[in-house]
Symmetry: C2
Amino acid sequence: MKRPLILVVNDDGIFAPGIKALVEVATTLGEVLVVAPNSPQSGMGHAITIHDPLRLRRTKTFGEHIESYECSGTPVDCVKLAHHVVAKRQGRQIDLCISGINHGSNASLNIIYSGTMSAAMEASLEGIPAIGFSLDNFSWEADFEPSKFFVRQICEFMLSEKLEKTKLLNVNIPKLPLDEIKGMKICRQAEGRWIEEFVEGKDPAGKSYYWMTGRYDLHDTGDDCDIWALQNGYVSVVPSFHDLTHFAAIDEMKALEFETAF
Amino acid sequence: MKRPLILVVNDDGIFAPGIKALVEVATTLGEVLVVAPNSPQSGMGHAITIHDPLRLRRTKTFGEHIESYECSGTPVDCVKLAHHVVAKRQGRQIDLCISGINHGSNASLNIIYSGTMSAAMEASLEGIPAIGFSLDNFSWEADFEPSKFFVRQICEFMLSEKLEKTKLLNVNIPKLPLDEIKGMKICRQAEGRWIEEFVEGKDPAGKSYYWMTGRYDLHDTGDDCDIWALQNGYVSVVPSFHDLTHFAAIDEMKALEFETAF
């Protein structure tokens, strides 16, 4: 059987420790292609570069034998270039896209701001099965060894099963040693919000600036949501989707005769 | 009755003609606060600025009597600053957020890349009813007069009705004279994708660059989707939501015994 082609991407940049962990697992499962940002791109969401040219540069970041490129754009740009430029020129199809491992959780509504998850979603829009992995630990020195165990299992699942509906997974891993992680849990996205504060300061010229900071506030008591799973020692796995239609609101608006009320 | 406070934002930048049209309608409906990017931010999706300070500068772009600020950040940053810094300091609550009018459609999956819609979604995450408006016309000289008619009606609906589920609308307006627009249609987000091509060029130093271009490919034959409505002369109104959980995929994964298969 032909070995699958696995695209590895991230948002923390090609030199982040988290992407190295993904590359290490991917090389045991298939051929690896890395296209990752040349600078940190956290919080870039689904941003794309429209008004500027993009650069792609071959690197040896992961050794001589791993095809790897750094890109001047966003995580989503990386996936577009990997698919439409790099793989296409070689006449190859990407079989799986894995993104991360993000330094910090992307559970709950963080999926919306996350470059890691947006890169994975972009691949899923192209019909490529995709997984975003995040470790609930912001430290650059985080231990990614326990994560690798779950990365391998979930990649094998996405590569082997005949999945019709499951094209995109948001996987978050608790900050625990492997033997304290209880298992994996399929979840829905938790309801919550960010309570933002802006720190105001003065620059050397005396002009005001604002710097965002904040804390997450959980508004969800369900034991089927991703935050619950993480807080209780499980790896949370949320199947996700790019259709943002709110069908319950369609019913509500129709009941209010919105279309004909004016 | 107290006049509602209406936040106006966009992604094309504070000097774009589209935002002027929104401000004109908003002033007839309530108090207006404008916080908009100081440069074009198309395609920024839900990007936020984490690693840099943000600037906010009072302007008179819309005359002496309209409180208006330009912001150095993304459309989502604008909403965060408007809510957490500007309104909060004044002890005021934003009652409605309107974003746009975008120069170009944000129907179908464009919602994901759209700074216009991400700004509106950010407001909805704060519990503020929010609407993103887009005109299916990329021209800077587009005629926004027909759009204003629908902007007013939809704003009145969002301000007056007791909506429990409808917090965020993606509104797209066809490029037609007012008397040729057939009405408004509540829709779901159409299935489709972008067929991307990258134009490769050489910079003056002889180095390659890639510039994204592409065309939209509709994969949807339903007459209940937003692209159908636009193509058939209707204003499309898609109630949208920030929960990306794919519930059908949860069922599929459970049936495959994902949680216990390893």
